[in-house]
Subunit: 485 residues, 2 copies
């Protein structure tokens, strides 16, 4: 890139106000470092526009000066997608207005900088829900959720973020604003621009606002925790429940014994859900908008027959909302406690749901053979075929030595996923950390189409350059510190 | 376009076999005329490849010779999108294999030429459903459904075609094949190519196969027919039912009194559902995968309270599957009987669901003022905000005189839709018939983005040229015969 014009930041300051163009290292720090400290970035400045027109102005100036703009929401991403390596950080945090809540149309118009939790709360105030729910919901911002097509624990019932968005407002690479804030259930007027921007990680345009779908608030829910003899038995359980419960089944999460063991060991207040030990656990939730439906009876019947035919070994059904929460706590604590067992090599993969048990068994065996003593922590959104296939270090190994094998285990796991026609990034996206893995596994025609789209929509390559796909001139990905083998 | 090389068809015949390259007028006839006889097209030949590789070969030859390829499925489209005006018709009808049915993954892999009804039947054989359902399901082909993002009567519960497709195989404008036949619920590996092709009406690529989502087969359903005092009362009913029934509510269709009157007058065997007359009727369906749930009791309760608070005037709940079908017959006959009342000017529009009653009232009044005696037949997918706002001629008017006002009424209706931030094509697409309407109403930035995408993916403009968006050199749309004012 050419030299940045000397008055570039001055022009931005004049429009946005000086305090919204941050160039001092201390002020920039939290925007440059990725949450898990995997990456440290560089930027000319952090720029914080206050509305869509100011975002457009900033991007116009970037386009004129050929300066990169790296959009950032809550900076909670897990793939280095929001970390800048050149140009400015364009923070959407000040675009935090909820523009409209319309329970009658079951929609809500929000700005990109709204925190997910704020949106969930606003929906509940009108007796609806916005069902996107994930670990970082207290600090992630909806623009980031949209740009990464975030998943979470309610995908089984409500779909990914993509399915929850009806319309978008986007600032394009030349600074024009596309107003696609439609609140329609059906609209076949031309190409699907909305889905092109959703999940493109800020490389094709910058999402500034969105129309979100709301749903009737479930009036009753029941959670159960179930012990099975194997992942295959858990899959049989899932198939059976899906047939009888349909959409009442809102979550089907999986944990192996190792995962429950470390939660019980480390998570404060975690209570053992079943008396014995089992090789595989499922946490399921059923919910209904009808407050009078007896979900517990429904579930007792379904689990009773699963017990009789040998699909499950044991189960507990929560008898109160407090017990519902206590069971969810076992699953939700898992992300926090893994680190307490040492180094962890992580994968966020998916396969067809019918293959998810085969995948867990095959990949676990391959990793255990590759490094005896390795502890497989394969958990997650089983009902979506999405497994966080995490590998915890052997007990007696040095953490850096283990983490040095990151690349080797990526290869083992991703090769198996690829052979099963799966995905090497089910819900976290590509960003920088998986960019070269993507180039390895993605259909070459698809990869070429992606580059064609990037060049067509961002011909100067100024929007989050080097993320998702690498074009000529992009930097090689900075290695995550101490992680790549 | 330059002269077509003299051996162009010969090269195609040599690969596909002579009988699959049809150039005689009689053999081509059914491919050139649109179902409702609104358009007659022209083509060098009708080419019928037998598999994906042959489709790719044909498109490669078209690219070399700069000959347009107009993909066609069942030729049942309603906007002239499959009618050729240059080049060849590329019929997908021979790609009619169901490649895989996987009830455990709840997916099915089908080729573009499969007839929708065949797919529905194959799903039912494994105790699942493929929920896409529309009037032409016995002859439309899934490739066309995908290319137009077809809607139909089950969108309220299951979404548009877009929501029912997990993966695609597409032949690109240069003849390369993109294999995106993934059967995954979650896949965040780069840009959403799938949704770019879905709904692009064959102008960006030619869909040759798809992975479809299946759903548990509802084991029980109940249909009710309800009389209300107004569209606003029907909307109140919808909002109430959605809150209490949630996803058990699988359809909410609307008919005004005029629509029911003409069905009862013309449809053989149609039986009056309610003793009195009402200004607005709703047909609703509730369904469940649980065979033991008492849907009738659920519905009686919900409708009972709607009756008590004055939302509805009368209702009948079907007591058998035969009665379910008889009530649906009233709604489904409507398309056929409209023509028996004379000329009809049609619109396929949507507005936010919360505005659908306002829209019906406002647009009806505007049309009645513009032409006293006009009979508004505004019916359809009320729960999606999608109304087929059709206008039947005054009883004593000459049909051609009425149809000559097509353009005038388009303007009246579409202006109202546009002012309500609605869509001028909710489910039928743009094709040729709405191309210039789209250019009038679409956000100019969106229209420009569409052209950018078209140029990037089809730089020679050989895929269904002149449809959806007009580029330089495209022909003006042929006027639908006798329809435009």
């Amino acid at each position: 890139m050419p030299e940045t014009p000397s008055d570039f930041l001055g022009v931005l300051s004049a429009r946005l106000g000086e305090k919204h163009v941050i160039a001092d290292p201390a002020g920039m720090e939290s925007y440059l470092v990725e949450e898990r400290k995997l990456y440290r970035g560089n930027a000319l400045a952090v720029v914080r526009p206050g509305n869509t027109e100011e975002v457009a102005f900033v991007v116009q100036e970037c386009a004129k000066a050929k300066v990169a703009a790296v959009p950032q929401g809550g900076n909670t991403g897990l793939v280095g997608g929001g970390v800048p390596h050149t140009g400015i950080v364009l923070s959407l945090a000040r675009l935090d207005r909820i523009r409209e809540v319309n329970p009658f149309n079951a929609t809500m118009i929000v700005e990109a900088g709204c925190i997910l939790k704020t949106i969930q709360d606003a929906a509940e105030k009108v007796d609806c829900i916005f069902p996107l729910s994930l670990a970082s919901e207290g600090s992630c911002r909806i623009g980031g959720n949209i740009s990464t097509n975030a998943g979470g624990v309610n995908v089984l019932r409500y779909g990914n973020t993509r399915e929850l968005v009806l319309g978008l407002e986007v600032v394009l690479a030349d600074g024009r604003i596309w107003n696609g804030l439609k609140s329609l259930r059906k609209d076949n007027t031309g190409y699907d621009l909305k889905n092109l921007f959703i999940g493109s990680e800020g490389t094709l345009g910058i999402v500034t606002a969105a129309v979100l779908k709301l749903f009737p608030r479930p009036k009753t829910r029941v959670v159960a925790f179930i012990g099975c003899a194997s992942p295959h038995a858990a899959l049989d359980l899932f198939e059976g429940l899906r047939q009888t419960l349909g959409d009442a089944l809102t979550a089907f999460e999986f944990m192996p014994r190792f995962a429950l063991d470390i939660v019980l060991r480390h998570a404060p207040g975690a209570v053992r859900p079943l008396s014995g030990d089992h090789a595989a656990y499922a946490l399921i939730e059923v919910a209904s908008p009808d407050p009078e439906i007896d979900l517990r009876a429904l579930l007792e019947k379904a689990l009773g027959s699963a017990f009789e035919n040998g699909t499950i070994e044991d189960a507990t059904i929560a008898a109160s909302e407090a017990q519902n929460a206590a069971l969810w706590y076992l699953r939700e604590s898992l992300s926090d406690v893994q680190g307490l067992e040492g180094g962890s090599i992580k994968h966020d993969v998916s396969v067809p749901v019918s293959d998810v048990a085969d995948f867990i068994v095959t990949a676990s065996r391959a990793c255990e053979e590759a490094l005896p003593g390795i502890r497989v922590c394969a958990f997650g959104h089983f009902g979506d075929g999405n497994i966080h296939f995490n590998l915890t270090q052997p007990i007696d190994m040095e953490k850096p030595l283990f983490l040095a094998q990151w690349g080797r285990f990526n290869r083992i796991v991703h090769d198996i996923v690829h052979a099963m026609n799966g995905s090497i990034s089910a819900e976290h996206g590509i960003g920088l950390i998986k960019r070269d893995e993507l180039a390895r596994y993605k259909d070459p025609v698809a990869l070429d189409l992606m580059k064609t789209l990037k060049r067509a929509l961002d011909p100067q390559n100024i929007l989050n350059p080097g993320k998702v796909v690498a074009l000529e001139g992009d930097l090689p990905p900075a290695l995550p510190m101490g992680k790549k083998g």
